[in-house]
Symmetry: none
Subunit: 229 residues, 2 copies
């Protein structure tokens, strides 16, 4: 692998990590020594890449570098197709439609030969367990998550016990056959998981949770032991 290739790879590696990444890790990824990595980063900086290195933290590539990323590789196309198809097949209707639209937009900017690969991609999503729907609108949940609003819900748990709660929605998790709303429950003052098909009603409140969703998500990750993506 020549140096030129590696520099583009390094750029892509930096793009991949949207959070600070240590030079040690990058060097390992690229199979080069730490010293060489510093030199490569120096070169990229000289070319105009906004790479910021902070001691004790790592490197971040600030967006806006004049050199746009390269076109997708065949593997990446397959990954995109597979991902979009999964969402189109397994998510709720609005998200499913959005997945199809997004794929169309991506297809629009690809050269002809690659666009063909979209249709002939050799990957498919197999039929899965039927998704226990419930009749609530996931769009409302997603909107509340995005807008960071409290929700008042009526919920029936696994034992059939009904309850009404005010929760702070954090994220919507898609399992193979069920969807789960991750939220902070004001009643229990702790995180709770609500199966969407057991939520009987939702009302979006105007009040905002006192903590930012980001912080909540982090706290939840810690509690559940979910690694950072």
């Amino acid at each position: 692998m020549s140096r030129a290739n590696r520099l583009l790879d390094l750029l892509q590696a930096l793009r991949r990590h949207r959070y600070p990444v240590s030079g040690h890790l990058l060097a390992q990824d690229l199979g080069i020594s730490l010293r060489t990595l510093y030199r490569d980063i120096e070169t990229l900086k000289a070319q105009g890449a906004h790479i910021e290195g902070e001691a004790g933290v790592g490197f971040v590539l600030r967006p806006g570098f004049m050199l746009p990323p390269l076109m997708f590789t065949p593997d990446e196309i397959e990954a995109i197709v597979l991902g979009s198809n999964w969402v189109a097949k397994r998510a709720d209707a609005p998200l499913s439609a959005a997945a199809k639209n997004a794929l169309a937009k991506i297809a629009a900017v690809m050269p002809d030969d690659l666009r063909e690969m979209l249709d002939t991609a050799g990957v498919m999503v197999g039929p899965g367990a039927p998704i226990t729907g419930g009749d609530i609108d996931l769009g409302v949940l997603r909107a509340a998550i995005q807008a960071e609003r409290k929700l008042a819900i009526a919920y029936t748990d696994g034992k059939g016990a009904a309850s009404e709660r005010v929760i702070w929605p954090v994220a919507l998790a898609f399992f193979d056959s069920v969807r789960v709303l991750v939220a902070w429950c004001e009643t229990r003052t702790d995180f709770r998981h609500f199966r969407c098909d057991r939520i009987c009603s939702i009302r979006t409140l105007t009040a905002k949770p006192p903590k930012r969703r980001r912080a909540l998500l982090k706290a939840w990750r810690v509690k559940e032991g979910v690694p950072e993506p």
Copy 2:
């Protein structure tokens, strides 16, 4: 000026000229010999640049090497994030890496305000049933599917009966906990489904199936009653 820098410059120079440029001129621009220019162009081509050289005309960089800016709706962003994460989590290693790279590339060409939504997307992929791996390399399967090559496989079916077959691979289907290769089996002269974890060995043959993959896929869809995507 190091070579790495020069390659990036060459790319920019090619992008500037929308009409064929002679190698001589490019070489002069960059201050290198003609021979070196050819070598540089070779290197860029190896990286995926669609540079076309026609004798008596010059070089043109066909569009499609770089990814142009992309715009998405909030729902589409959530769909893309969800899809990529699903692939990153549930597909085999190379495809998983490709999903991360693709997402990074898409992120790099989105407007700033949209890019932020990537991090705050409120959708997640829940943990799923563990995927029964098998020790064959799915990359080999995907490559054979794309290249339309026959495969010689050793397979052990659900009843424990082992067999060796020559098949025409059509598609790779991702189920919740298992992956299945869809293929035409020469022995049975019909379509068969092979669980990847039961494929003991693969050998890619040089022979191509007599029918195009597209036609096979269509025939399979008809047989199985799978609707067009």
